[in-house]
């Protein structure tokens, strides 16, 4: 298996005046150290520009735009909302408190308010789908990563010993002199001092009450734009009748048929439609199937792939399904449902995810041309159908 890169390896790339995004993606494919994840994800989704000199101005402008969107759409009198928008808000208010139950960060008022705003503004600006249940889970992933980084920022300032890279809070209330280890601006080479590669093992126990309102606002804006980038790439997963999700499912089904026909046959015999299995997987990008701490590793790769959640993700799902093949093939209808509803992944580690990703990668190299072959066949078939009647009439 390919080796995970260290912070130093990333810092070298992140420190360039113009980051080579292809190179960054290649590195990120094999996993991003938690300390660099926020910056790397922001670059990979295209929120931060590759050009260091444009980064600060871009983020300032984007944060300003989100603030403006809040003013226009969120901070309005209740009477100004259409019935549809009220329904959207109601749905979001029902779902936000049910996000990642058990993780204290998401029980905190500041974080819940932030989520409500982000999801609501996104919905208003994307009326073709609006808010769909499960988007809260996707937002939660970004919040975990960005909040962990924001907390590290605080610690850096407090203790001035934790060297870390990539991204600094703008317009900080704190005097720069207090934070010698903090890079002066976004994307500058981080300090090489301090502990390296320390995992954010406390990530699930983050305390948002330490954040100023400004920090929360920044997290809101940053997560809004990053979530938007991801959702834009898979928007028709969420539009009426969810065609993108169905398309991805068809692809998983095709893959399964080829690589594990025994499992495929068994599932068909047990009347288990593949959509029944993949619906939640694709809708929530596996956030419901895997523990949060390893989801981030999965997302490193999906964000590193071009249109990863659209194009690469079906291979991940197929590999994930095949992973449980042995067990699944011995289960019958009801037990199949129950097993799939509650997969035994709670002890999964990054290593398990990396094995999964390797398998998905192999599938993608073996079969990625398949769709175009199919398309060609379809084209030929429809051409034949067009010619045939002509031939007969002629």
């Amino acid at each position: 298996m390919r080796r995970r890169r260290t912070c130093e390896a990333f810092d070298e790339e992140l420190g360039r005046d113009i980051i080579d995004l292809d190179n960054l993606a290649r590195m990120a494919w094999n996993g991003v150290p938690p300390e660099r994840r926020r910056t790397v994800w922001m670059l990979l989704v295209g929120y931060l520009p590759a050009n260091a000199s444009r980064r600060e101005a871009t983020v300032r402008r984007k944060r300003g735009e989100f603030e403006e969107a809040l003013r226009l759409h969120f901070h309005v009198s209740p009477g100004a909302r259409s019935q549809r928008d009220q329904g959207t808000l109601r749905q979001i208010l029902v779902d936000v408190p049910r996000t990642c139950p058990g993780i204290p960060l998401f029980a905190q008022e500041g974080i819940q308010n932030l989520m409500i705003r982000v999801l609501y503004v996104w919905s208003i600006r994307h009326p073709a789908s609006g808010y769909v249940q499960g988007m809260n889970d996707l937002l939660a992933i970004f919040i975990m990563v960005f909040a962990a980084a924001a907390e590290a920022d605080l610690d850096t300032v407090d203790h001035a010993t934790f060297g870390r890279g990539g991204f600094a809070t703008f317009d900080s209330d704190l005097d720069d002199d207090l934070a010698p280890a903090r890079p002066a601006e976004v994307g500058l080479p981080p300090s090489r001092r301090g502990p390296r590669g320390q995992p954010h093992s406390h990530v699930e126990g983050l305390d948002a009450s330490r954040f100023s309102q400004q920090t929360l606002d920044e997290i809101a804006a940053d997560t809004y734009w990053c979530l938007s980038k991801v959702l834009d790439s898979i928007h028709d997963h969420y539009t009426h009748t969810q065609p993108g999700l169905r398309r991805a499912t068809t692809q998983v089904e095709g893959l399964l048929r080829r690589v594990d026909s025994d499992l495929f046959k068994h599932l068909m015999e047990e009347c288990m439609p593949i959509l029944q299995i993949t619906f939640r997987w694709i809708n929530c990008l596996l956030t419901r199937e895997l523990p949060l701490r390893v989801i981030m590793r999965l997302w490193d790769t999906c964000l590193a792939e071009t249109s990863g959640f659209e194009k690469f993700f079906p291979y991940v799902c197929a590999a994930f399904l095949c992973h449980f093949s042995e067990t699944l093939r011995h289960l019958q209808a009801e037990d199949l449902h129950l097993f799939l509803q509650d997969l035994p992944t709670k002890d999964w580690t990054d290593d398990d995810v990396e094995t999964l990703l390797s398998e998905a990668y192999i599938l993608s190299t073996l079969f990625q041309d398949a769709p175009s072959h199919l398309a060609l066949k379809e084209a030929q078939a429809s051409l034949a159908a067009m010619i045939d009647p002509l031939a007969r009439t002629g």
Binding site: V94, G134, C271, N283, C284, A333
Partner: protein
């Protein structure tokens, strides 16, 4: 294999429907596992659980499909109405809008479910007395008007939950027997068509066998 669960006389498919956040998943977990979770995640698509009960000397296994409440998921969830012989249509007694939407859910059932599906209106969260905005009388009148069974429940304190499932399963069982008898008596007559319409678990009522195959 060989669990007591495998032995049953009838297998009934039941769906749980209603707005998001009214407590459908908790009603299901309270009934099937005697569990309640104040902070459960939203349901995406459909989830599934089973439980057997005994009524009038017969063991009835309920196969319950818990559906996501959000409208966007209707295209997916309505596919699960097929073959369902019962529906628990749930609202939250502390949120009036969830009661107002009951009519829309009835329309969903009319459009996608079997015509003779037994529907029970369930006012959940009855423990929230101080927050109640849908009165029992109002709901009962609505249920009568639409020919629905009605009950109030609290998945949190468990009141009414077993009764709700027990009642709807018993009612389905009785209705099925009644139709079966009609079918038997009219089997030789010219009106056989009426009898044949009983799709109520027709393929599910093999006595004492483990159900295998399509659900």
């Amino acid at each position: 294999m060989g669990r007591p669960d495998d032995e049953y006389d009838y297998l009934f498919k039941v769906v749980l429907i209603g707005d998001s956040g009214v407590g459908k998943s908790n009603l299901l977990s309270r009934f099937t596992r005697n569990e309640f979770n104040l902070e459960s995640k939203s349901t995406i698509g459909v989830e599934f659980a089973t439980k057997s009960i005994v009524t009038e000397g017969k063991t009835i296994k309920a196969q319950i499909w818990d559906t996501a409440g959000q409208e966007r998921y209707r295209a997916i969830t309505s596919a699960y109405y097929r073959g369902a012989v019962g529906a628990l249509l749930v609202y939250d007694i502390s949120k009036h809008v969830t009661f107002e939407n009951v009519e829309r859910w009835l329309k969903e059932l009319r459009d996608h479910a079997e015509a003779n599906i037994v529907v029970m209106l369930v006012g959940n969260k009855s423990d929230l007395r101080h927050l109640r905005v849908v009165s029992t009388e109002e709901a009962m009148a609505f249920a009568e008007q639409h020919n629905l069974a009605f009950i109030e429940t609290s998945a949190l304190d468990a009141s009414g939950v077993d009764t709700a499932f027990q009642n709807i399963l018993t009612e389905i069982y009785r209705l099925m027997n009644r139709k079966q008898m009609q079918a038997d008596t009219s089997a030789t007559g010219p009106t056989i068509k009426a009898g044949q319409k009983i799709s109520l678990g027709n393929d599910n009522n093999n006595p004492k066998t483990k159900k295998k195959g399509c659900c």
